[in-house]
């Protein structure tokens, strides 16, 4: 879909998914790395647990559909090559500290001189300016300052982030949205555009209905484990089953159906069938009306029913009978999840160490311009010769000077 466009990806781990998304959508993405490699190459998990540049799965996972070149931007030849690429490019994405690129003469103003129609996207923790602009940040502190942590975790323990880093991934996909929004504007104004992405605000959006709760209802939401509140009543969503956990929200028609299961299995007496208008039970709870069986009794029955069944048995039974029961999938479960296999989600990729692996595939199915993985993450400088030689017409000696590395 984006095949006419060229993207220069100068990011590190804070922005690499942005270029990948545009690459998945068809753009020609050129990953520009320093001669020492992107810092993300030093981030695990590593193939064979070997912390080497070409063994980082962090790098491998977020740099598909890109060509890779190395440029020494401290050297004049490297800078010249970059500006020559900018003249041919449509987008630049970078994730340096605010002002850093401008300080090196590589900021938006310099780039728009080279290409007056360029869309320049900058990803930073807090935005380009303001009192926090120069503060250091980490995934954890962005989850804190952006708000979602205040909503997550057990009430008797500290608030938690998700145990895997998320902030830069949210900011990166957001940067891809910003890139195409600015491109649409550029087409109308014929002027270069600067897109200023703030990871803190990307994390705020993950609070969903919690973002402005206090201003609206006069109180904040707080962390409460996996409990959902129905009026004044707490409903625990997570229940332990034979091989892990499932999530069940016992309301409406699903609750009525489950009561039938419980009676059939002898978990509750038969008079439960008629004791309540079960599809309306949650409405009574919300309105604090008297109920024949308390929510605690209902949740006990849920727990007793699922205890000796597996996640998949419960999912299948629920699907057949119109009750939403969600398995708490772990990595192993996801790898084997039938839905993903039958939709052909997984792809097979050759890894840099010669192994072959099952890897996550593309994120949407398109009828007219199907997304494909044209290439897996490049080795450092893999396409330096191709890009600088064929695209810019540089001679071998010039390429070596620009890239800061001997040719592969």
């Amino acid at each position: 879909m984006l095949s006419p466009y060229t993207v220069l990806d100068l990011t590190d781990e804070k922005g690499e998914l942005a270029g990948m998304v545009l690459g998945d959508l068809g753009a020609d993405v050129i990953k520009v790395e320093p001669p020492s490699g992107s810092p993300s190459r030093a981030m695990g998990p590593f193939l064979d647990d070997a912390p080497e540049m070409e063994r980082s799965l962090q790098y491998f996972a977020f740099n598909r559909n890109k060509r890779g070149i190395s440029l020494d931007l401290e050297a004049e030849a490297g800078r010249e090559a970059l500006f020559s690429l900018v003249e041919k490019a449509d987008f630049i994405i970078e994730s340096a500290r605010p002002g850093e690129m401008a300080g090196r003469g590589l900021g938006f103003e310099a780039m728009r001189q080279a290409n007056p129609r360029i869309v320049y996207v900058a990803i930073t923790p807090f935005g380009q300016d303001g009192p926090y602009a120069d503060f250091p940040a980490s995934d954890l502190t962005l989850a804190a300052l952006g708000g979602p942590m205040s909503l997550q975790g057990h009430p008797d323990r500290p608030p938690v982030r998700l145990s895997l880093p998320q902030a830069w991934l949210h900011a990166s996909v957001e940067a891809a949205v910003g890139a195409l929004t600015a491109h649409a504007l550029m087409l109308r104004t014929d002027q270069a555009q600067f897109v200023d992405v703030s990871a803190q605000t990307a994390m705020i959006w993950t609070m969903l209905q919690g973002m402005v709760a206090h201003s609206v209802q006069g109180r904040d939401f707080n962390r409460r484990g996996s409990i959902v509140q129905l009026g004044t009543v707490n409903v625990q969503l997570v229940h332990e089953c034979a091989d892990g956990y499932v999530v069940i929200f016992p309301i409406g028609g699903a609750l009525a159906k489950m009561v039938e299961w419980w009676v059939r299995d002898g978990i509750v007496p038969e008079d439960w069938l008629t004791a309540e208008d079960w599809p309306m039970y949650h409405v009574k709870l919300l309105q604090q009306q008297p109920v024949a069986h308390t929510i605690e009794e209902v949740l006990d029955a849920v727990g007793a029913y699922v205890r000796d069944k597996t996640k998949n048995q419960l999912l299948e039974q629920g699907l057949a009978e119109g009750v939403s029961i969600a398995p708490v999938n772990n990595m192993e479960d996801l790898t084997r999840f039938r839905q993903l296999q039958e939709r052909g989600f997984w792809l097979t990729a050759p890894l840099p160490n010669g192994q072959v692996a099952q890897v996550p595939g593309i994120f949407a199915n398109l009828s007219e311009t199907p997304m494909k993985v044209h290439r897996w993450a490049p080795k450092l400088g893999e396409h330096t010769g191709e890009v600088l030689g064929d695209l810019l017409g540089l001679a071998t000696s010039q390429i070596a000077a620009a890239s800061g590395r001997a040719l592969e």
Partner: protein
């Protein structure tokens, strides 16, 4: 002169509901498109019956959950179970550039507004169908809430404490990342159509978008069988790395020491406490091995200070730190104030309430949100007459026939 907006003139018929679809079309609406949000009266959009409600008083036009994600849109209530309602739907489909829906798979075909019909009414239409599992596959019909999706996509497993059942992320985690993927995909499809005249059909599973954020660990699992699980706030490579208790009621500051230089910074911020001079803590391996001890001593220092004081002391020494902010704190955040992130809009029923702005700023125009979300059925007449160009008589006929829910 008014700002030029990126998507001015773009037309969107938004038949989706709840989170993912409406959040996706909000990007287009706030950035200039004409978006018609098609709703039902029964059942109401779940967001209209979920809080937070203004002043805690429920009502379909009083919830910020709906209000936040439907800014800058027009609203019409159609009865899609009535042929007259479908006739209006067909006119909207013929009018629009983008048609979005998020029903259970198969529903739009049953209603007579599937892609086959849509593309015959409007050959270059771009149609987006999004649901949890995708349009095909053995569990396509799974219809659940966001927390079901968060569990299925692997996010419950990795949120909480190793010795406790999973806590899960805050509500509907896949609703937070999917709209980003969908918005960029729609924009790419629109650019493709601008150049080629060709529309297309997009089938997007929230599960498959969700797994993009777990990619390195999913690959690692496939190779080595290591299944990452929840681990509080701890990291495999950094310590200390957690939320530390501060002065006040349930107040916390998050601290992440990423390297030895930052550890030295933390020691300076604490006034070079004796306990921290221990050489076992001088490198990451040592700090990881003794993090119980470090967390306990560090907590004593933080507990005597406000979260803001802890954050300021650490940031000034170059250590990543951040107050665990609630929605009330965000309203006081100086960086967000500088950025003009929250915008007040005056809503007919809710009054003046702050709305979150966008996560990127593009110089040269204000990305809104421009107008508050529609009241239920607020623009029924406007959509029929001004947008679809119906005459007074046609409109009356449609209403009498039961098109409007």
């Amino acid at each position: 002169m008014p700002d030029t907006l990126p998507f001015e003139g773009l037309k969107v018929a938004d038949f989706s509901w709840v989170g993912v679809g409406p959040i996706t079309t909000k990007y287009l609406a706030d950035h200039g498109a004409t978006v018609v949000r098609v709703e039902a009266n029964n059942p109401l959009d779940i967001l209209r019956v979920a809080g937070p409600f203004k002043d805690g008083v429920p009502g379909p036009d009083r919830t910020q959950f709906f209000a936040d994600y439907n800014t800058s849109k027009y609203g019409i209530t159609l009865d899609l179970k009535n042929p007259a309602g479908i006739e209006v739907a067909h006119r909207l489909i013929a009018w629009t550039d983008v048609f979005a829906e998020s029903f259970t798979p198969g529903t739009v075909d049953d209603l007579g507004i599937g892609y086959g019909t849509a593309s015959s009414l409007n050959p270059s239409i771009i149609m987006l169908s999004t649901c949890l599992m995708g349009q095909s596959g053995p569990t396509a019909s799974f219809a659940g809430f966001g927390f079901h999706a968060g569990a299925i996509a692997g996010y419950y497993e990795i949120t909480g404490w190793p010795d406790l059942p999973p806590d899960g992320p805050w509500t509907a985690y896949t609703d937070t990342l999917s709209p980003r993927f969908l918005a960029v995909t729609l924009m790419a499809a629109l650019d493709h159509r601008r150049r080629t005249g060709k529309g297309q059909y997009i089938d997007a599973a929230q599960l498959e978008m969700g797994l993009q954020f777990l990619a390195p660990q999913l690959i690692d699992h496939g190779l080595r069988g290591r299944s990452i699980t929840r681990n509080g706030n701890r990291s495999d490579v950094m310590a200390p790395h957690g939320a530390f208790p501060c002065q006040g009621e349930d107040q916390w500051c998050a601290i992440a020491v990423e390297n030895d230089r930052q550890w030295a910074g933390l020691r300076r911020a604490m006034g070079d406490s004796d306990w921290a001079k221990d050489e076992r803590f001088d490198n990451a391996a040592g700090r990881l091995a003794h993090q119980d001890e470090i967390e306990s001593m560090l907590s004593e220092w933080t507990h005597a200070r406000t979260p803001r004081a802890v954050m300021d002391a650490l940031l000034s020494e170059g250590v990543p730190a951040g107050v665990v902010q609630r929605s009330s704190d965000l309203q006081q955040d100086p960086q967000l104030a500088h950025r003009g992130f929250f915008r007040n809009l005056d809503h007919p029923e809710m009054g003046t309430v702050p709305y979150p702005g966008h996560q990127f700023r593009i110089s040269g125009y204000d990305s809104g949100p421009r107008t508050p979300a529609p009241l239920l059925g607020q623009h029924n007449e406007y959509v029929l007459k001004e947008i679809l160009g119906m005459t007074e008589e046609e409109m009356v006929d449609a209403v009498v026939a039961g098109a409007i829910a």
